[in-house]
Symmetry: C2
Subunit: 332 residues, 2 copies
Amino acid sequence: MRALILTGVKQPLELMDRTPAELAPGEVIVELRIAALNRRDYWITQGMYPGIEPPVILGSDGAGVVAVCGEGVDSSWIGREVIINPGLNWGSNESAQADSFSILGLPRDGTFATHVSIPATQLHEKPGHLSWEEAAALPLAGVTAHRALFAQGGLRTGESVLITGIGGGVATMALQMAVASGADVWVTSSSLDKIERAKGIGAKGGFLYTENDWTKRFRGDAGAANLIVDSAGGAGYKSLIDVAAPGGRIVNYGATTGPPESIDLFKVFWKQLRLQGSTMGSPSDFTAMMKLVTHHKIRPLIDRVIPLEQGNEAVAMMKSSPQFGKIVLAIS
Amino acid sequence: MRALILTGVKQPLELMDRTPAELAPGEVIVELRIAALNRRDYWITQGMYPGIEPPVILGSDGAGVVAVCGEGVDSSWIGREVIINPGLNWGSNESAQADSFSILGLPRDGTFATHVSIPATQLHEKPGHLSWEEAAALPLAGVTAHRALFAQGGLRTGESVLITGIGGGVATMALQMAVASGADVWVTSSSLDKIERAKGIGAKGGFLYTENDWTKRFRGDAGAANLIVDSAGGAGYKSLIDVAAPGGRIVNYGATTGPPESIDLFKVFWKQLRLQGSTMGSPSDFTAMMKLVTHHKIRPLIDRVIPLEQGNEAVAMMKSSPQFGKIVLAIS
């Protein structure tokens, strides 16, 4: 097999031939068609993640065809088109992952490779309406967006949703899922172009968070947000508390601009707000996400397709996030 | 009727005779036996509350006997022993109070009086196991504690609960309700005496939050808290995020020491924490609270009984909170 391997932090990934690891009972080997990138991959290359032990094959997202079944796996899997749930060993508590939880692509070898071994319990049938690119783009962003909106955000039909920093994989998936679920969805961005593209896939409108008075205009156009999905935190978090409706929820699956400045707890308790942390998702979240995507024929947005050989360029793009939708790697 | 009246902020309340207001359709007059104090009463006397328009009779909590029924009220109420739900016009949204919501005792004349008029829909039968003092102590603290624990905190049997700053009416009610519901309950205080008293009513143990390493000792003794009920906020809030279990909830019904310092959103999303604001409760919360109190024969703690005539001394005690349980006013 060929794989893009992290041999040390702050070094380019190296494309190498590698002998596949011994297949454990219950595992399969998937011959990958497409892998997809996540910001996590960039952070790992920069050493900004716990437990980095090179050499390791990065990559959490992938779709392909089952090539080999290990001991105890039903051989009817062979030849089937699958996508992989990259969340391993969530544990039995739906509210939070166990200490044993890990994500494919560190420490376990991931999907930036021609082949990946994975427990068969992580496999899901590739939905028929998705291309290989779309199927590979779905798992990590899809389950993160779904958990943020539903299990943690408690989204109900007809509610008003605000998704901040539209453009990344999770944010665009959340936009598509919320629109499909009958919500009125608004977005923020620092780019008018991204706001226009968000409107093209169902957003009611958008606001430049770089403009000081965007919350006023949000109130005028949208009223208040029942659910806000944010991954920025930082100085802008204060505005989210202001535009949240009474009884509203603000779900964070990241804090890319750092922790928020002091939070006005008086507003939080008087408005009965819920500030909810969220990350990835349980096997139940993944199954529910697959069902929603299949039912509504949601197709993840692909920003660009890059050959595996140029994987380092793809990883570098995750730093500044110019994309709208997912960047994927063509394996073969 | 005689009443303790706020005639201006930062002035002593004045005990005066007053002509009762005209009884509106749907309302009753309750002849009060006992009223109870809340910190809200102190804040109002200090002008630290919106919409203060003297003269007004303060007091949110009261229990007594129905003396007069207005038009449209079933006359079988007459002579019945009742407690009053002080939350008016919550609205139709269980998640948060409507703008129309108000609390008895401002702007509507309250319970520091021999008589109070109130819509009959606010009446609840006084549970048989409660004394008049206990019945009057129950409403505002009881519904606030119940909503914090259940509707907002999602308490489940067998969970571990931490109640900070034990001693006040809401905190002691929350302790009693959580213990009755089968939770392992821990407390914090700045007073060893209050911790001992909390253990006397079912707390597993307590910690002096004035000691820097209390979170370490909490981890050693209690592990982690699934649910934390706090009304302090401020610098100590950081520690609550540290001792919360993965998937845990931190419910705030106040922020007496001000807003927290910057919140570590990374811990919040990685631990999938829920930071939940809460205040008072809906009519459903009140009914559920009454059911729990009746079923488990919970008796609110009475710190002391003060005659209505000495109401100003009672209000002054709400400033420094030396009490353990509620301070009540004997009306007659």
